[in-house]
Amino acid sequence: MATVIDVQGISKQFKIHHGRHQSLKERLLHPKSGTTELFNALEDINFKVDSNETVGLVGHNGSGKSTLLKCICGVLQPSSGTIRLRGSLAALLELGAGFQTELSGRDNVYLYGAMLGFSKKMVDTIFDDVVDFSEIEQFIDTQVKFYSSGMYVRLAFAVAVNVDPDILVVDEVLAVGDERFQAKCIDRIKTFQDEGRSILLVTHNADQVRTICDRAIVLENGRMIADGPTHESLRVFREHMMDSATEHDHSGALANISIDSITSPSGSFDVRSGASMHFDVNITSHHAYSGNFVMEIFTRGGLLVSRSDAKGSPVNLTPGANCVGVDLEQIPLLDGVYDINVGILDPRGNTVMAWREQAASMQVTYDGREGGLVELGASIRQR
């Protein structure tokens, strides 16, 4: 398989100016005023993306993922290291960044196409598809300044995905338009995958990475902390999120709760489909805390099967060891291994107080005839 993106030893330093003057007079008068500090936005990043691969780039705000993306797209020059690309690249960094609001949608399609490096002839051939995809036929000759923000980004997205790039780079832009249009975008990305092209997706939405990506790279403070199959990388990502949340927690509440283990009375997490299951979550808390308990079940492929919580009745943790019992009646899942994540959230559900990714793995065996994920007990007969 051919490597289409080859990132070798990329580092990027930014100069941060403190109180420097930007006008000529002030610079002449105070040539040395202000201090400059070097900030390492990226440190020694190495990875490759093969053709036919969809890679997620995750990290929370300020982790350097956008900087890395800009280096790959050529918007930024890395301080050191090399990036090699094979084939054409279309970047959805900020939809509609190249739009001229005074011009019509039609003119902007051509301008944006040229901006992405595609010839007028190529844009001619895809013009109808673009208009079709963006669903703004009626307004294509209207000045873009009269577009709603939804129309604006839809048009930009339509151009970028229709120009047929070999590599598509997407940065947090899948939150475009209404739900139906989003589904269409995801659909388009899937087609892309099927056609054997490469996609680099940047997001902090873990669910999106799970559904789309084969592989995920996790960045933290400009360094790569994980590069592997999606679910493993995401586990690292969540654990790091917890760690850094603990570091930034000044009230000290977070450090005080930890999820130690999940145990099952039978000692095993093997279960037959349709049977019930019980397990205990052992939590140590250093002080009394009343919060919400959350449990997620994922397939190995990274699909969220179920998320449930105890919102109606908060769990009351007492100082010392606590145990939260979870009962699953009649597990309708089919054959497979399912990962269980558990966590404690604050009562409003905004802050994660403790989290355990892949706390346990449940092995389900099923000997019925249904296929897929769940048994619905469907009976089919002719009337």
């Binding site: 006008s23 918007v75 001229q100 005074e102």
Partner: protein, 293 residues
């Protein structure tokens, strides 16, 4: 994509994105006149009005004595308008399009070159109008000198493009440049032979100080030679013979065609080198755009 691309790579990138350049030029022009009733007519109307003003001031009020002064003005104004409108728009262009510069990858100097390109389009329109004026007034150009125009134009293009590229990058670091440029251009205008004559006003004034070679300093302004060439071609008259009321009036240098040719070719060569130098400077400056925009 290593840290800094070589000059050859830069030029090759630039050439490969020429379609973007034409798109940007056409969108520039369309945006400029989008919501105005007269549209692109303004690209002719504005210079015409300026010529009218200069004519009234310098020919009627100050009586500079240059015959057919409108054609004299027009021949130099086409040159000046290209230079001035390019620099006026290109100086701040990277700052203005910061959103684009920070999000989309393309050779950034294309933004400045697009402004120059739009000015070239207006230049061509104005040149056509000049031709029309010559035809209507029956003022014949110096046909044998006509082929000097493309050479002088190329020199003008490369000079304007070089300055536009450098100024667009410098302005990112020194925002004052935009304001500074207005003054510089005003000064530059009066340092070039548009509203007065080189032979009549500059040469004798400088020679009065007793140094014969000093007028060459004035010719160091590349715009001067280009304007002299345009005036020689379209205005033609170098010397007005004395009458019993007026002395001899020297308007343009009486150089033979070969002098014009060699000087223009020399200038073109220097301007191409200047353009390459501008590309190198731009390449050095653009590395830090991100942290300044």
């Amino acid at each position: 994509m290593s840290a800094r691309a070589s000059l050859v790579t830069r030029l090759r990138n630039l050439w490969s994105r020429r379609e973007l350049l034409t798109s940007l030029i056409s969108s520039d022009i369309r945006i400029k006149y989008k919501n105005s009733a007269l549209g692109i007519v303004w690209s002719m109307l504005t210079p015409a009005l300026f010529i009218a003003i200069y004519f009234v001031v310098f020919s009627l009020f100050l009586k500079n004595g240059i015959p057919n002064f409108v054609i004299y003005l027009f021949s130099a104004m086409v040159v000046w308008n290209l230079f001035q409108s390019s620099l006026n728009s290109a100086t701040g262009v990277i700052v203005v399009r910061a959103g684009l510069v920070k999000k989309v990858s393309f050779p950034r100097e294309i933004l400045a070159l697009a402004n120059v390109g739009a000015s070239v389009v207006y230049f061509v329109i104005q040149l056509a109008v000049l031709g029309l004026v010559l035809a209507i007034t029956g003022h014949a150009p110096a046909w044998s000198f006509l082929w000097l125009v493309p050479i002088a134009f190329l020199a003008l293009y490369f000079f304007t493009a070089a300055l536009a590229i450098v100024m667009s990058a410098v302005t990112v670091y020194l925002r004052d440049m935009e304001h500074f440029m207005v003054i510089i251009l005003q000064l530059w205008f009066f340092m070039s032979p548009v509203v007065y004559s080189y032979e009549n006003s500059i040469v004798p004034q400088l020679h009065r100080h007793g140094v014969a070679w000093i007028h060459w300093i004035y010719l160091l302004n590349p715009i001067t030679l280009i304007m002299l060439t345009f005036q020689r071609v379209f205005y033609v008259t170098t010397t007005v013979a004395a009458t019993h009321t007026t002395p001899v009036l020297n308007i343009l240098p009486t150089w033979p065609m070969s002098t014009y040719l060699y000087m223009n070719l020399g200038l073109l060569a220097v301007m191409v080198l200047l353009f390459l130098g501008a590309e190198v400077i731009f390449g050095r400056l653009e590395g830090n755009f991100e942290s300044e925009l």
